[in-house]
Amino acid sequence: MDLIIQIVVIVVHIAVVLGVVLTHVAYLTYAERKILSDMQDRLGPMEVGPHGLLQPLADGLKLFFKEDIIPAGANKIIFSAAPILVLVPALIGFAVVPFGRDSFFIGSIEFTPYITDINIGLLYVLAFSSIGAYGILLGGWASNSKYALLGGLRSAAQVISYELPLGLALVGPVLLSGSLSMKTMTEAQGGGFWHWYVITQPVAFVIYMICAIAETNRLPFDMPEAESELVAGFFTEYSGMRFSFFFLAEYANMILVSCVAVVAFLGGWQAPLAALDFIPPIFWFLAKVYFLLFFYIWLRATVPRLRFDQLMAFGWKIMLPLALVNVLLTSIVKYFLN
């Protein structure tokens, strides 16, 4: 009986988080189109609903009812499994993100502002985000199309190359907080914005942000898609619902890396000043995440795409040694400050 209640509570948590994340994914696509069109001095989606507000719903419905084509010569099993292999890791990464501070109770049942708090939270997010690369690689390979194969290979090379500096950049906050739990990490940054790790680890923050953009295959690092040369990269042959899963996963990953950035560098749900504590923590968390997401879209409107050799050289010759030196210096400074 106890176990049943426990599982029901877990499922409620997951349903809430999943619902919120999927709504955000839907409206992130809308926000992206609107912000981009604003920056390019045009209107963007305006037809479906007031100011095009129902556009994401219309897009979702359209993709749901679209014919789903598996090209001749494709490996059917891998081709079908790849989108799910991309989507699942992107969603379950949210299991350890602490969205707020206070639990609330209904009777004696506790509802926490996170699904679970494990002491290897950050490692868990990193581990699952690398599984997504398999989905991209397999999807590209199974399609039996040159564009998809090239896109998949490029994407795999890019994701693993930028995973190294990304992981190393996160070692900085781990060193300072002495914990991999995202909850403990947030709590360690309390007491005002000068305690946030973005102040003590500015280099790590910049490295993390650049690598996170590369990891999620966003502009200016969207080489795997590069529509001007590879049509649509690894999902050239995908259509309908499976296509939308790659799309969903990309945007869910964007939100996830922003959440991790907020927890590791921007103090999570902590208010910037103690005087502002009366505003609910969840507001601060969302405000920071929205800012980073806006920054992503802003970059897309501003920066042109890199060439692939430039991208790889940048990752291996600049980001990696910089991240290693940052870890080294942080540990030395921390030792002498203790």
């Binding site: 176990l3 426990q6 877990i10 499922v11 997951i14 999943l18 749901f64 679209k66 014919e67 789903d68 598996i70 090209p71 001749a72 010569g73 079908s80 799910i84 989507l87 699942v88 969603l91 299991a95 699904i115 679970t116 708090d117 494990i118 490692l123 868990y124 390979w141 399609s143 039996n144 199309s145 040159k146 290979l153 795999a156 090379a157 693993i160 190359s161 995973e163 992981g167 190393l168 070692v171 781990v174 002495g178 914990s179 991999l180 042959e237 309908g240 619902m241 050799d309 790889m312 050289a313 291996w316 990696l320 040694p321 290693l324 870890v327 080294l328 540990s331 030395i332 921390k334 030792y335």
Partner: protein
């Protein structure tokens, strides 16, 4: 019984995994039931700007991708090594610092060797 097998903090992750999987599978299956199925040979050919593809798409690809994967495995293991070190840095003190400086120095030597050998070049 489940509790004995699995620390309770990890149970939500297992449940979440199955829910996310079910979300994916159910959406695809539900879509399969309602969407049109009207395929013919021309529609099923891989995209090639309107030209019929002459060869199999899965041809040989540059060895560099393999090299990058090898380097990744090396550096990734080292990165994973840094995590437990960072967590227990406070308890270990000077020993941890000196050990890690030695470790990273050796790593840097290998890194520059790979660089000079041209393993990081892309053309």
């Amino acid at each position: 019984m489940l509790k004995a097998l699995l620390p309770s903090n990890y149970l939500p992750i297992l449940v979440f995994f199955f829910i996310a999987l079910a979300f994916g599978v159910v959406t695809i299956v539900a879509g399969y039931l309602v969407r049109p199925k009207n395929t013919y040979d021309q529609k099923l050919t891989p995209y090639e700007s309107g030209i019929l593809p002459e060869t199999d798409a899965r041809q040989r690809f540059p060895l560099r991708y393999y090299l990058i994967a090898m380097l990744f495995v090396l550096f990734d293991i080292e990165m994973v090594f840094l995590y437990p070190w960072a967590v227990s840095f406070n308890q270990l003190g000077l020993f941890a610092l000196v050990e890690m400086i030695l470790f990273l120095t050796i790593l840097f030597v290998g890194y520059f060797y790979a660089w000079k050998k041209g393993a990081l070049e892309w053309d």
